[in-house]
């Protein structure tokens, strides 16, 4: 069964939007953030219209309702990535905050000067900078799994890095630039054999692939709602409960405590221990609705559709003289096509495409070291999701020909 994209597009009112009179948006920027279906928007609106109250400790009806909606969403999210319990899902603001939570809480309690953390050359800044900061503060050491010319991780070098007994391996499941889907299970197995803890940046994988954290055996897994049809301002950190139990709290304040005295406190149990202050309740409800939406369609179907579009897009883009694509072939990547166009800066490509309503991103996509590796300051990036069509790829290709003409 293939996706009924025509039907799906009806769920996304923004896809009808004209960015200029008579020019409907062609949204090819889902890697930055996905669009939101009516089901998610309405779930959040309903929450505010009917059930809004602060969660936990309230005994009135609205507080009870808000609490059960907030916690119910957590259950859905846990099930979506096959966590063994909702206690293992910590709400955060986004993937970046999830990674920072591990860096501040787990790493500061477990890493000392000279300890090695292994990252990769294809990381987003969110999985580089927290470790740079720890390097400055603690004197930890960093090393990197290299990226090969065709955009894959060099696993042979990885194995030799593991001989140095790293304490942590942290890597992206799917690159936001190259689209590369990394062999996460194998990377994790090898890390565990070397005695390391593993953190996976799942910002791009959870929205597009079936992710099973138990099958992967990931210790920590970070992701954001807004890239998977949910709202901005909320994300999650999955962590194995023995690890989370042993970690000190992250932020201090209300809700993360069991008991507070004037001069001391006792931390709350999981997952509340890591959720200080009034959280993003409506956003959690929206997150749950997004998970419901994707689950009802089926992640396998979504992945198959994206694969078909990506294969088509790579073929068509490759035909354009002057276009250079980055990353592996379609069978090793998700729905991302990063490219350069000879003689035209990616910003100009994006700006001219925008005239035809085509939304692509230009820049280093928060992966500056990766671009340096390939010797380019920036790329243009088209990315695809469940609502994109081959006709939209054709619009992109025609648009690029127009850009070429302007700069010829």
């Amino acid at each position: 069964m293939t996706l009924n994209v025509k039907q799906i597009r009806k769920d996304f009112p923004i896809l009808e939007r004209e960015t200029q009179p008579g020019v409907r948006v062609t949204y090819l920027d889902s890697t930055a953030t996905s669009q939101k279906p009516t089901q998610v928007i309405e779930a959040m609106n309903d929450y505010y219209r009917r059930s809004n109250a602060n969660i936990h400790r309230g005994v009135h009806t609205l507080a009870e309702e808000a609490t059960s909606m907030y916690e119910g969403a957590r259950e859905k999210i846990a099930k979506f990535i096959n966590a063994s319990s909702a206690r293992e899902i910590i709400y955060t603001r986004n993937t970046t905050e999830s990674i920072n939570l591990v860096a501040y809480s787990w790493a500061r309690a477990n890493l000392k000067a000279g300890d090695l953390v292994i990252l990769t050359e294809m990381e987003h800044h969110s999985n580089l900078v927290p470790w740079h900061m720890l390097q400055t503060e603690r004197g930890i050491e960093l090393d990197f799994i290299p990226v090969t010319e065709n955009g894959l991780l060099d696993l042979e070098t990885y194995k030799t890095l593991l001989d140095r007994r790293p304490k942590l391996v942290s890597f992206t499941h799917m690159s936001n630039v190259l689209g590369t889907v990394n062999p996460a299970a194998e990377i994790i197995r090898l890390a565990h054999e070397a005695g390391a803890i593993v953190l996976v940046d799942g910002a791009q994988s959870v929205p597009h692939l079936t992710v099973d954290v138990q099958a992967l055996d990931a210790d920590f897994y970070a992701f954001s709602a807004h890239k998977m049809c949910g709202p901005t301002g909320i994300g999650a950190l999955y962590g194995k409960s023995p690890l989370l139990e042993a970690m000190p709290p992250f932020l201090g304040g209300g809700d993360m405590i069991k008991e507070v005295k004037l001069r001391s406190f006792r931390a709350n149990t999981l997952p509340h221990k890591f959720e200080a202050g009034t959280p993003a309740i409506a956003e959690a409800v929206g997150f749950g609705a997004a998970v419901d939406y994707l689950s009802a369609i089926g992640m396998d179907k979504i992945a198959a559709h994206e694969h078909e579009i990506t294969e088509y897009a790579l073929d068509r883009l490759e035909e354009i003289p002057g276009v250079k694509l980055f990353g592996p072939p379609a069978d090793k990547k998700g729905g991302v096509a990063a490219f350069t166009l000879e003689g035209v800066h990616p910003h100009d490509v994006a700006q001219i495409l925008d005239r035809d309503g085509i939304a692509v991103r230009a820049g280093h996509h928060c992966a500056q070291p990766l671009h340096e590796k390939f010797g380019i300051p920036a790329t243009s990036r088209a990315s695809f999701y469940l609502y994109n069509t081959k006709e939209e790829v054709d619009l992109l290709v025609n648009g690029i020909y127009k850009v070429k003409e302007m700069f010829s």
Binding site: H345, P346, H347, D348, H364, A378, M406, F407
Partner: protein
């Protein structure tokens, strides 16, 4: 919007008249646009009375950033540094002859920021220099 890629801008981007480096120079400064990694270096020669006698830029970036750098170099040759210090956002937009949204404005203003940071002898090209 259609003005954004006016012929003059594409022309200055593709065939800049003031691209290169000056050796020796009296003032040299370089910085990036952190949003997109565009990079501009500006070298100036200044005579004893404080007048810019020569100016070149180098670097990489989009058509807007490179064209505005070229136009800016052209406009400051023969001007006293005291006058260069007074240049602001509007001066660059006037040179380009276009309107810009907030994102592309950063591209257009990078060269002026670098120029003023160099002239003032600052360590960083900050936004406050062009407001």
């Amino acid at each position: 919007m259609d003005d954004l890629y006016r012929e003059v801008i594409i022309e200055h981007y593709k065939n800049p008249s003031y691209r290169g480096k000056l050796d020796p120079h009296d003032i040299s400064f370089a910085d990036n646009n952190p949003l997109c990694g565009d990079h501009i270096q500006i070298d100036l020669r200044v005579d004893d009375s404080g007048v810019v006698t020569d100016a070149l830029f180098d670097g990489h970036g989009c058509a807007i950033s490179q064209a505005s750098a070229d136009l800016l170099m052209e406009s400051i040759i023969g001007k006293p540094l005291e006058e260069v210090k007074k240049l602001n956002k509007d001066s660059v937009l006037e040179l380009l002859g276009i309107e810009l949204g907030p994102v592309r404005l950063k591209c257009a203003l990078l060269s002026l920021k670098v120029l003023k940071a160099g002239v003032y002898g600052l360590g960083e090209a900050s936004d406050s220099l062009v407001e």
